[in-house]
Symmetry: C2
Subunit: 117 residues, 2 copies
DNA sequence: CGATAATGATACGGGTCCGTAACGATCGGG
DNA sequence: CCCGATCGTTACGGACCCGTATCATTATCG
């Protein structure tokens, strides 16, 4: 049973959520940062720099920089993989989980407001 | 009849669409640019710099710069208001309408893939 | 008229991000 | 062992965006 949503509803939803994100001056994440954050919190670990780079179709430095920023915001942490010390494992944080949850509520809330057919 | 969407579905949807946006290297709009674009295409004209700044809760230069970028991308145009030449009216373009439509399809498509309860 | 207000654009200093290229650290096979 | 391959990070030059303050242009109203 697919999730039914019409193009016009999709646009309204997208706009309302983006308006909220813009107005909330704290969390102005770029599309890349958002994609990384959600991937880490929705997909099964472990997450590595190279894996994220491949999934997003970007280069490794892009991931490194995004992790710097997300780490500075406390939404994610890095840990050296002791089994293979070349690897870095990206881990979730409490603050990150809260931020993701807040985003989910934001989308859900606006979806409800928009109303179905 | 509200648009039913669960938090977990909202997150999946948000992630999938952002993944597509990131992978599509052409259209990497910031949250602000996206909010502006959708506001112009969803709300009734006329749209002014001042009005958009107020709606988004940002300063006027932010809007001016975003319009510069969106204009360079061909998604929007500016026109002097002949009635009150202090004002600038933001107008839609064919390319902009196509981009918005593409975004709508992207969201709708991923919503269908995700599936309901 | 002239003074004031309003609008959008610009200048500036600072910050972030980009892509390419190089780097140090680490692992693994011969 | 050692040499190549792999991993994540850093260096660099350039582009973009930010917020504040200021600007030129235009309208309004006494």
């Amino acid at each position: 049973m697919p999730l039914e949503i019409k193009p016009s509803q999709a646009l309204k939803l997208w706009r309302q959520v983006h308006l909220d994100l813009v107005r909330d001056h704290d969390a102005d994440l770029s599309a890349r940062q958002t994609a990384i954050l959600l991937t880490v919190y929705l997909e099964l670990p472990p997450h590595t720099v190279r894996g994220l780079a491949k999934q997003l179709g970007v280069t490794k430095p892009v991931i490194t920089r995004a992790l710097d920023t997300l780490g500075k915001l406390g939404l994610l942490t890095r840990k050296r993989d002791e089994a293979d010390r070349r690897n870095v494992v990206i881990q979730r944080t409490v603050a990150g989980a809260l931020a993701v949850e807040r985003l989910a509520d934001l989308v859900t809330e606006h979806a409800r407001e928009i109303g179905g057919s």
